[in-house]
């Protein structure tokens, strides 16, 4: 009986098969990281509870977008690219005192670089950005405005962080993500408290 020797299997085509699979996964893979502008919605107050807060008009920056995607800031016609500058000027103005906390009287803003215009916002912690949009405004425009407002706050925080900690706010956030120490936490919280994002969105124009 002829007994054949077990011949070795040719593994030369293994690479081809692996390549085929590799190309398949290369094509089908999607490494999309979901990124976007994050917002925290305000909590709903019970309907029986009246808490109308009275705010001075000079502490509110009115941004209105109409259905033709045209912008009105403080009753002046502007472009999207102007919003960042206008918001920064408004928030960083520091024309007055911060809100008094209990017995502690309000203090002037010692980190603001604004014009100290008495007709603009008193203090960054009092400055409110109001974004009024129309139901017919396109989402892209809405996001652009949101983006510019976010950019204004980020730049103000960056400036303060560079002055105080010699490191920008974004870098601090990155550091915190890598290793969250308590001292970093307090730094970030300080910056956030110095320039809190107070954005209100009134009912849209019908």
């Amino acid at each position: 009986m002829a007994r054949r020797e077990n011949s070795e299997i040719n593994a030369g085509s293994m690479a081809d098969i692996a390549f085929l699979l590799l190309i398949f996964f290369l094509v089908t893979t999607t490494m999309d990281v979901d990124s976007g502008i994050s917002r925290k919605l305000p909590e709903k107050t019970p309907p029986d509870q009246k808490n109308d807060v009275i705010v001075k008009e000079k502490n509110v920056l009115d941004i209105t977008v109409n259905r033709n995607n045209q912008l009105l800031v403080e009753n002046e016609f502007v472009q999207v690219t102007d919003i960042k500058r206008l918001t920064m000027n408004f928030v960083d103005n520091g024309g007055g005192l911060s809100a008094a906390k209990g017995d502690v009287p309000g203090e002037p803003c010692d980190y603001c670089n604004g014009a100290k215009d008495p007709t603009s916002s008193d203090h960054p912690t009092k400055a409110i950005v109001s974004l009024q949009s129309d139901r017919g405004t396109t989402y892209g425009m809405y996001i652009s405005v949101q983006n510019e407002i976010e950019g204004a706050y980020n730049e103000l925080r960056n400036k303060l962080a560079l002055k105080k900690y010699k490191r920008s706010y974004n870098d601090l956030l990155d550091d915190f993500k890598e290793n969250g120490t308590a001292s970093l936490r307090t730094k970030i919280d300080f910056l956030k408290d110095s320039y809190p994002q107070i954005i209100t969105e009134p009912e849209p124009i019908k």
């Binding site: 893979t29 979901d34 994050s38 917002r39 989402y139 809405y142 652009s144």
Partner: protein, 156 residues
């Protein structure tokens, strides 16, 4: 002189024996990192707006996504909302979030984020309605999904 001329002529062939190993390594990398698309879009694929101040969404398992866009059928106008392979009404968003919450543990619920993937031509009215629905049930963390870029002109 002949002593030095004994070297072989020509280059030896490069061994390709380790090629399969390299390819397999790459293959495993892509197999592990790949994510198959979980939802089939029933809408026209939303063209996300561009924004420069974006933050990455952490904790992907805690993100529930709402798609907003136009219907594939050009005769149907208006914004359509899709969650989990279904086109739904604005009123049903609350029940969608409740279902999403029910499969997570209690302490994860407050970390849950709603990602809104809307077309840049969608109307703000729809978005604000959704935000109102989310506020009703205390799902307060939202993220407007955007692509990163500095060219905001393409948004409007």
């Amino acid at each position: 002189m002949s002593k030095f001329k004994k070297k072989k002529k020509g280059l030896p062939a490069i061994s390709t024996a380790s090629l399969p190993d390299i390819v397999f390594m790459l293959l495993f990398f892509f197999m592990v990192s790949t994510t198959m698309r979980e939802t089939d879009l029933l809408l026209k694929k939303p063209v996300l707006p561009t924004a420069s101040e974006v933050k990455k969404l952490e904790l992907k398992s805690l993100v529930s996504t709402i798609y907003i866009g136009k219907s594939k059928d050009p005769r149907i106008s208006g914004d359509k909302i899709q969650v989990n392979d279904k086109i739904i009404d604005i009123k049903d968003i609350t029940s969608f979030i409740f279902v999403e919450r029910s499969v997570r543990s209690e302490d994860e619920v407050k970390l849950m984020t709603t990602s809104i993937k809307a077309d840049k031509d969608a109307s703000v009215g729809t978005i604000l309605d959704i935000k109102e629905q989310l506020r009703d049930i205390n799902a307060l963390k939202i993220s407007f999904s955007t692509t990163k870029g500095t060219d905001l002109k393409s948004n409007y």
